[in-house]
């Protein structure tokens, strides 16, 4: 195939030029092609970004009876502060005690540890489910269905995310990410209230605001 016969086909006679066989080695060409293929394969699959689904509540006024109340024991309010700080409190805010608000960070030892501890029931169930999947005992579809069921379970925590104006986009995505990691199915992004601002300030100033209020 890759050789070109330059002979005239007849017997080599004296005085006539020798029969040349011209062979082209295609190996480097194949090498180069393979390299290019690899490049294009990676380009097509890796360049496609991932998308995080986000559903925001409607702005329409919700009737009071339609609003579903969250039990205090299940509610966690996470406030995204400036300079990558995260504050959180459980249940109802306590405006008199500056230490009701806790400061943490976005690392695995900070926010994630707290969320996993609070949401231990669902995290454990999720862990078992992942084990099953790793052992290939359940199919991909079943896994998706069951993990959805677990996340929507009533035993789960409800997280209220309140970003301050000092937070960045990556802070928001990080927190939404922690919801995925910690198997929290119920979360909402809510505007910051004046009370929350007060809590953060109170903590930052070491409780001076609540002391002022108490002395009045």
């Amino acid at each position: 195939m890759a050789e070109v016969n330059t002979g005239d086909g007849g017997e080599a006679k004296k005085g006539k030029p020798k029969k040349h066989t011209l062979r082209v080695d295609f190996t480097p060409m194949v090498d180069m092609n393979m390299l290019l293929i690899t490049f294009f394969m990676f380009c097509t699959t890796l360049s496609k970004p991932q998308a995080m689904d986000l559903i925001l509540p409607t702005k329409d006024e919700v009737k009071k009876e339609d609003k579903n109340k969250v039990e205090d024991t299940k509610a966690i309010t996470v406030i995204l502060g400036e300079k990558n700080k995260v504050y959180y409190y459980f249940g109802k805010p306590n405006y008199t005690d500056p230490n009701s608000l806790a400061l943490t960070n976005y690392g695995p030892q900070g926010l994630r540890k707290m969320l996993i501890e609070r949401n231990a029931v669902l995290v454990n169930r999720m862990r078992k489910l992942r084990d099953l999947k790793a052992k290939k005992q359940i199919s991909e579809d079943d896994f998706k269905k069951q993990s959805k069921e677990i996340k929507n379970d009533d035993a789960g925590q409800v997280v209220i995310i309140k970003p301050t104006d000092g937070a960045t986009y990556s802070n928001l995505v990080d927190v939404l990410d922690e919801m995925q990691i910690c198997s929290i199915g119920k979360y909402a992004i809510v505007d910051l209230t004046e009370g929350d601002k007060y809590l953060v300030q109170n903590l930052e100033t070491g409780g001076s605001l609540s002391k002022q209020a108490a002395s009045k």
């Binding site: 060409m29 194949v30 986000l54 970003p163 986009y169 990691i181």
Partner: protein, 201 residues
């Protein structure tokens, strides 16, 4: 006695067939590769563990730069033409054929509508410069971002919305885009992120 001649085997492997196959595969991958549209600002998207890919078609990408400029990208050329028609009707601007062509070839929408005809008359390199300094107005008095999205939804009812932004973008800028989306009841949308591995929990 004559010696038994051992036949000489050539170790030369013919690579032609192999090369044929690789060229074929290469052509396939080159044709299926989708090239990313050119963006006026380079952004580094935050990483997340979510491994859902963004929808392939009918996608409107809203790009928010760290300075708060908003850019739009509709992925279907047919939609873009229909949207431009709607704009020209509502804002009473007539676009020439040349301007329409320029609108199709420019992937990004990023100037106020009043400046659009002038913008489309420029050359592509000039357009890129202008885009960097401008952006679709999205403040409450003149919310053209809302208009564009509404046109997009009117033209293509399957339109999906994706928000792409830099890690360092301050939250108030993102919030204003989100609240615009909420205003027009586009409550479900995607945030574009890069993949990172799921940590063990």
């Amino acid at each position: 006695m004559s010696k038994v001649k051992t036949k000489k085997h050539s170790t030369f492997i013919d690579m032609t067939a192999m090369s044929d196959v690789t060229v074929l595969l290469l052509t396939f991958f080159m044709l299926t590769a989708t090239f990313l549209p050119k963006e006026p600002v380079q952004v580094t998207t935050p990483s997340s563990v979510v491994d859902i890919k963004i929808p392939e078609s009918n996608l409107l990408t809203i790009l928010v730069s760290p300075k708060g400029h908003v850019y739009l990208n509709f992925d279907r050329p047919a939609d873009k033409l229909a949207i431009l028609d709607k704009v020209s009707q509502e804002f009473k601007i007539q676009f020439t054929d040349k301007q329409k062509k320029s609108f199709l070839s420019q992937p990004t929408i990023g100037v106020p509508i009043s400046a659009l005809p002038k913008f489309l008359d420029m050359s592509v390199s000039e357009q890129d410069e202008v885009l960097k300094a401008n952006g679709v107005p999205s403040d409450s008095t003149n919310n053209q971002l809302k208009k564009w999205i509404q046109y997009g939804q009117a033209v293509n009812e399957n339109l999906k919305i994706a928000v792409k932004s830099d890690q360092t973008t301050p939250y108030p800028l993102i919030k204003s885009v989100f609240s615009t989306l909420q205003d027009i009841k586009a409550n479900r949308f995607n945030l574009i992120t890069t993949l990172k591995g799921m940590p063990a929990v």
